[in-house]
Amino acid sequence: MSTQFSFHGGVHPPENKHRSTGLAIQTAPIPEQLVVPLSQHIGAPSEVVVSVGDYVLKGQVIAEAAGRISVNVHAPSSGQIVAIEKHEVPHISGMQAPCIIIKTDGKDEWIEHAGLDDYKAIPKQELIDFIRHHGISGMGGAGFPTDVKLHLGDDHIVNTLVLNAMECEPYITADDMLLREHSENVIKGIEVIAHLLQPSHVMIGIEDNKPQAIRALELAAKATNLNLDIVVVPTVYPSGGEKQLIKLLTGVEVPSGRIPADVGIVCQNVGTAAAIYDAVFDGVPLISRIVTLTGEALARPHNMRALIGTPLETLLNTAGVNQSILYRLVVGGPMMGFTVDSQAIPMIKTTNCVIAATYNEMPPAPPANPCIRCGMCEQVCPAELLPQQLHWFAKGKEFEKAKHHNLFDCIECGACSYVCPSNIPLVQYYRFAKAEIRAEEAEQRKSDHARIRFEARQARLEQEKADKEARRKQRAADAAKAQAVKKDKDEAKAAVSASTSAEPDLKALKTAAAVARTKLKKAQKALQNAEEKGLDGQEKLRVTVTELEAKAQAAQEAFDQPQTNKTDTPSLDIKQLKTNAAVARTKLKQAEKALAKAEESGEGDLIELRSKLDAQKVKTEAAQAAFDQAESGGEISDAIPQAKLDEMKADAESAFAKVEKARSALEAVIESGSPAAEKMKAGVEKLQAKYSALKAEYEKALAGNSAAESKSSLSPAEIDALKQDVEALKAKVDKAQAALEAAIASDSPAVEKMKAGVEKLKSKYQAAKSEYDSAVPVPVPVPVPVPVPVPVGVSHHGVDLDDLKSDMDAMLTKVSKAKRALATAEASQSPAVEKMKAGVDKLQSKYDDLKSEYLNAGGKVAEPEVVDPKALKQDVSIMRTKLKKAQTLLDTAESDASLPENELDVLKTEVERLTQLHHEAKEKLDAHDKVLIDKAAAEGIDLKKLKIDAAMARAAVTKAERAATKAREAQTEDLSDIEQELVIAQQKAEKINQTLSRFSD
């Protein structure tokens, strides 16, 4: 039967096959030393299971398959293992690889081995494992583990089994001789493969230049029941390429980037079939193979069955090599084989041919002429590519174009190089281009990964900052509330002793609730992570999260319940409301982020997300409003402006975030030189304008508020806002600076523009800073009403310390960031390195300054004047703020004639009430201070010590927290330990605090 199909192209190099078919297959001598590489196949290298000095028998496993795509390695002969070390291996790169070196004893003593009695009687899996155990990998050239291919029947429908007996490369006759002498074994091996894969059709493809092999095959095939065809095809190189063979025999093309099994075809080499026969019927592992020794430098070119690991020198000597005329030693065929420069290299499972060529036989390629695009390469390309174009693209490093011209469909058969009249080493160009593209892609993946990680880190840091801020506020509120509770108790002057016992319970519950929340958050994060990456065990995680949610809920309830019993309802409500508002805000942010992400990637249901976001916004506003309302003592008229202000601020912030995002996107685009940069720039400017407008509006509103305020020009909150602005600006300036440096480093054309932008930002920052500086001194005289000057100083001092600390931390981050940038710049030999170095030094010195300042300040913390009237003081200041707010409102209302009279009255009464309250609080604080001072006088030392202890415990908690964060970041294994420590530290701190609070009562 002959084929009606053909593949494109192909060449007819001189075959030179007759030389090595004159003699029957000989058995090569056992060399003194066998060098058995651990990696003779595609996939993971096998793992050594013997050690130096061991005596091994022929056929004994000396290295085991490591992983799915790997095979066993067996001792080819008996002897002693003298070394397990790196040795030259037959590889195109000439590299060294781990080998087991066996000193043979010449006895060639077999280990006990036996074939299967009836391979059809055992389960297929066992049969495949048996084959795998016998170390069989593809004998055709690539060396793909055979058992993996035999599994293809599991998840593919295999219609056709194709046996490759083409041996299309010139010189090689190993398969030819195998078929001539052992066709029956091959047919039986095919039967085993067919038993495993159950194809409906088996085809053996063979070129018409092997008439004797064809005849032997036809005779042997009579004995089989398989639906087997021997397809004789015209000789043309590279008809033995898997894809070409499949096209030739079946007319089907294997789709690009897929495997033959995807079109229902499995391809095996006849040599592999023979090896399977040896293993299944005789239990002989793959320890030897037929190899063609040929070339003009050999006196007796022929095929021999040689042990795996036999050095080429032994083989060449057996074939009568004339070393003086040996010029080129090729392992494999002349078209796709590779040269080796050492004869100590061993043969391996895939070594089908060794060509000892003389100079005249394979002279060095003449120097390449320029490509004249004659198109001869195109006419012979079996992959139907345009080799001439690929050559130009590879030469010009236009890799995108090369990929577009299907460079990766090139099978490197060398037909194009063979026919090229200009003697251009085309295959080398393609290998170069492929390697470059692969390296580029790897680089791209790496940088993408780094970018994602960086962004995640940024987001996390921001979140942490926000959380910290929220916690701080929470603590302040808690303290105020606790104070209020105490105050109530003082006022009642009844059942004082009863409450103290309930207090620790509450705190413990709170800790429990917090711990539960933390755990829940972590679990949620893990779940999210798992979902994103599609990892296993999502279900388990989800269950955990649900459980933890329930636990957290329970803990929260347990905490809330006693609190409800103990404290008065309104303050609890406020707390709850505040939490609600915060949660709503977080959710809103999350939703916004999700939306932005979805918009960016253009995936997911945008409309749904947007509607969700809107709903969340409404909820957030409602929660915020409710909270504000509650906080201001149910004063609707008070709450509205604040809420509005907040809303405006949120708007401005979200606008700013958008601007930032757009800008970073723009930078990315500019870097990548996309044509959309101009458009994006316009978009960014638009966003910027929007943001500016929003900000201006917000600032106006803020200014209006502050202007209306009767007494001090700026409230602490406003100063805070200012400060935040300043910090945000500073961050912006830093970011812009970094971007600028990056741009300079990358020689971006936008540098000039960016410089101007940085200057502008800097000036803005300066303005904001000066504004803030001018505002800051104001609050110092503000606490005039506070009667005791000392605590104020202390608190002020404390604030400074915190500021310093955070400044210092920020600076440290900057320093490390700058250092990292510097390292990258140095690695890429950027011209901006010098500049960056100076910048890093500057940052470092700044950081040192800050640190020393902080240390100086920190020394003062331990001073004995520390007394803690904080809560009371806070009470007073809260009252003051409220009062001020009310006053402002009243003033505005008064100036606003449109307001009805009764509302004004309400406001007035409210102001009066608040004034009263403020007064009371102040008095209480005074009284308390006095009491405290007295107490301190009475038990002074104890109190101080306790306080120091408390401070230390707090510090320990902070430290533990930081360690925990770090551990979480680094995902170290001792995370749980650290968290344990954190909880312990927290409890300790709580205990001391309790004692302290009892004392200070």
Binding site: V11, P13, P14, P170, K243, K247, E253, P255, S256, G257, R258, Q323, S324, L326, Y327, R328, P334, M335, M336, G337, T339, V340, D341, I355, M362, A365, P367, N369, P370, C371, I372, R373, C374, G375, M376, E378, Q379, A383, E384, L385, L386, Q388, E398, E400, K401, K403, H404, H405, N406, D409, G414, S417, Y418, V419, P421, S422, N423, V427, Q428, R431
Partner: protein
């Protein structure tokens, strides 16, 4: 002996660029012989003169570009360019016409663009077009085939030495006028109201001398077939050109046989055969894929007919080829073959630009 390390493949077909060029030179010989036989020694002298000039210019420019001299001279590409230009020039073209033409072809059209393989336009055709535009008189004076001289009784072409004198002396011998005549394409264009049939019977160059052009075309055709047989180029481009020209001229001839010439006339006069087999198949400047070559050839066929029919120049091959050279990179982008394992061919160009 130390073993060498090289990349696969380790075998090379024993063919080289110079072999390709030598084959092309060989294939033009029938045409050159026919030209000499019918139009006298002029063409042979032109070709030899052009080849000498080409080698000289090539050597000096390669030297100037500091490239290995022998290596580049051995590729014979300059000789092929000169040969084609010499064949295309009128047989009695004065020596300086050839000089200017070869200079333009080798120095400007080829080496200023980067040498062999880098030139976007066919050097011989750039030179021809430039000469045609610059020296219309000399470029359109074609001599009569010998069959028209003295009744064609014997092979009485101008003697070799006389021709040499004519080309290099620049003096017009008294014989000159009697030796020149219009070309068939000329008379077909400038026939002044005569129908095609009348032109055929009235004008001597068509009535008596057309056989010379047929013979020359046949010789080029033979050379071309030889090159296709030797796989120097594929059949795509010449077939596309000739088929397109034949189809279009048939169409017009069928519509109005009085005004348009028959397809055979178009295929066998002027430089159609020389252009189809030797000029348009220049691989450097043509489209590269098989499909691209077909598109390229169709373009040339159409342009030849259009320029012959309605253009201002008697023959159109040079301009048609140059115009299609211009579009070859674009054609390449849209005529990639469908690669093995791909459902369809890629189109356009990704990356860069």
């Amino acid at each position: 002996m130390a073993l060498i390390r090289t990349s696969s493949p380790h075998l090379h077909k024993a063919s080289s660029t110079s072999d390709v060029m030598r084959l092309v030179v060989l294939a033009t010989l029938p045409g050159l012989a026919a030209m000499t036989f019918f139009f006298g020694w002029g063409t042979l002298i032109n070709v030899i003169w052009a080849c000498l000039l080409a080698v000289g210019f090539e050597a000096s420019i390669v030297k100037l570009r500091k490239r290995p001299l022998g290596f580049y001279l051995k590729d014979y590409s300059a000789l092929v360019t000169a040969l084609l230009l010499g064949l295309a020039l009128p047989p009695f073209a004065p020596w300086w016409i050839t000089l200017v033409g070869v200079f333009v072809a080798i120095v400007i059209a080829k080496h200023l663009y980067g040498g062999l393989g880098q030139n976007p336009f066919n050097p011989a055709m750039v030179a021809y077009a430039l000469l045609l535009v610059s020296f219309p008189l000399q470029m359109t004076t074609w001599n009569a085939p010998f069959v028209m001289i003295n009744g064609g009784e014997s092979w009485n072409v101008l003697g070799f030495s006389d021709t040499l004198l004519l080309i290099f002396g620049g003096i017009e011998p008294p014989l000159f006028d009697s030796l020149t005549s219009a070309t068939p394409l000329d008379v077909m264009r400038h026939r002044g109201g005569l129908t095609t049939e009348e032109v055929w019977s009235a004008i001597p160059v068509l009535a008596e001398g057309i056989g010379a052009w047929h013979a020359v075309s046949a010789a080029y055709f033979m050379g071309g077939v030889f090159l296709i047989y030797r796989k120097v180029f594929t059949i795509h481009t010449p077939l596309a050109i000739l088929a397109t020209l034949a189809i279009i001229s048939s169409l017009f001839y069928a519509l109005d046989p009085y005004q348009y010439a028959d397809p055979f006339f178009h295929l066998t006069t002027g430089a159609t055969m020389l252009g189809a087999f030797f000029i348009a198949t220049d691989p450097v400047t043509s489209a590269t894929s098989n499909r691209g070559k077909i598109v390229f050839g169709i373009g040339i066929g159409v342009l030849i007919f259009v320029i012959r029919g309605w253009g201002g120049y008697p023959d159109a091959v040079a301009f048609a080829v140059l115009l299609m050279n211009l579009s070859a990179p674009f054609i390449d982008q849209y005529t990639q073959p469908r690669s093995y394992g791909h459902a369809k061919a890629n189109r356009g160009m990704k990356g860069g630009m």
